[in-house]
């Protein structure tokens, strides 16, 4: 469900870009997805294929680039990279981490003809 709205968001951006840059077709679209973003990659891939039909990005390749998850540790006050949302602080072992990066869902660039 949620991935469908993301794909619709991508389509809106592509249609705006197509008007602004006068291109016919998108061949490849690169998106950056944070490690903690609420996105299921296979579901987004599927939604992308369905939602792009009839748009300039029909049959375009979708590349997903992972962005790391980062958090501020409330115990040692340093910013650290964590792999999973509930990981302890790798520096002090503390368990009170506030995510500061890793929730991104960004369109980076696209190849067009």
């Amino acid at each position: 469900m949620h991935e469908m709205s993301l794909a619709e968001g991508i389509r809106r951006v592509i249609e705006d870009q197509a008007r602004a840059h006068a291109f016919a077709r998108v061949t490849c679209l690169r998106v950056e997805i944070g490690r903690f973003a609420c996105v299921e990659k296979p579901a987004l891939e599927f939604a992308f294929e369905v939602v792009m039909r009839g748009s300039p990005a029909e049959n375009a390749r979708l590349e997903m680039i992972d962005l790391p998850g980062r958090a501020i540790c409330y115990d040692c006050t340093r910013e650290v990279e964590i792999m999973a949302r509930l990981d302890p602080c790798p520096l002090c072992g503390g368990g009170r981490l506030m995510p500061v990066a890793g929730e991104e869902m960004r369109i980076k660039d696209m190849e067009v003809i």
Binding site: H2, A24, S55, I107, K108, V112
Partner: protein, 279 residues
């Protein structure tokens, strides 16, 4: 005409609740939604565009948030609320945690303070009717298959309400602990409601919503003895996923803790007013 999306629904402004009944219209330009039975109904059906262009491969840098369009709607809502000095709360939780019950109780306790309510559910206008029964104005948004409210829906819902300066806007999101976390509605903050019948580990299982919220209302504390709930464990797990979160223990059924929640609301509104005045 709606100045944000240009979809023409702004013309609905000024319609009273009863005027909004019994008519519906669709928009042919891609994000069709119609208004009928006094609620707003949303669905999606993007229109195709084909733009003739050149044949050389180019790379276009975009660096745009996928939800950028939602962000534009959310910021427009936020600006409208700022002009009014109104404080908007986005209430998020799983279905059945007690959002509507708590809202009704809150409205009664706020007495004559100006406020309005936007109710989000996939189907039915039951909740808006429950709110109107308290005497407050409410508009129901049905998301259809959609699992969350978005900035566009809330902007149009606001057109159907008379928001008074210095009032509260309560937005009851669709019951879902996942997706609403990602959609900014233009609110001042999210408030998560977690009831003691749901299990102490829910914040760990669904961290995003609790990380995105400024306050958690731990509801149904009257039931704690019956379901062997460990309220301290609830709070510990909430702080594990959001060390800055505030927690208030309440019962919408008995009214326990409601005074603290009301103080929190009035304090937040006053702080927003002070911030705005200082700018």
């Amino acid at each position: 005409m709606c100045t944000v999306c240009g979809c023409g629904t702004g013309a609905e402004q000024g319609h009273s609740r009863s005027d909004a009944h019994g008519h519906s219209h669709d928009h042919a330009h891609g994000h069709g939604h119609d208004h009928s039975h006094g609620g707003l109904h949303f669905g999606h059906g993007p229109a195709g565009t084909e733009v003739p262009g050149m044949s050389q491969v180019r790379l276009i840098e975009i660096e745009t948030d996928i939800l950028a369009k939602n962000g534009v709607h959310a910021e427009a809502n936020r600006a409208r609320l700022a002009v009014l000095g109104a404080f908007a709360v986005n209430l998020v939780s799983s279905p059945g945690s007690g959002k509507t019950t708590l809202l009704c109780r809150t409205i009664e306790a706020l007495g004559t303070h100006p406020l309005a309510v936007i109710e989000g559910d996939q189907q039915t206008s039951n909740d808006a009717e429950r709110i109107r029964a308290t005497g407050a104005q409410a508009v129901q948004v049905n998301t259809g298959k959609g699992c969350h409210l978005d900035g566009h829906m809330v902007g149009h819902a606001m057109d159907h309400l008379t928001l008074a300066p210095g009032g509260f806007l309560f937005i009851e999101n669709v019951g879902n602990l996942v997706c609403p976390a990602a959609f900014d509605l233009g609110e001042d903050c999210k408030v998560a409601i977690l009831s003691v019948t749901e299990g102490e580990d829910k914040p760990l299982k669904y961290p995003d919503m609790f990380t995105a919220s400024r306050l958690a209302l731990l509801n149904k504390v009257d039931l704690a003895p019956y379901c062997h709930a460990d309220l301290d464990a609830y709070e510990r797990n909430l702080r594990r996923v959001n060390p800055a979160i505030e927690v208030i223990r309440v019962s919408a059924a008995t009214g326990a803790g409601m005074d603290i929640w009301l103080d929190w609301l009035r304090g937040s509104l006053a702080r927003k007013a002070a911030r705005t005045a200082a700018e």
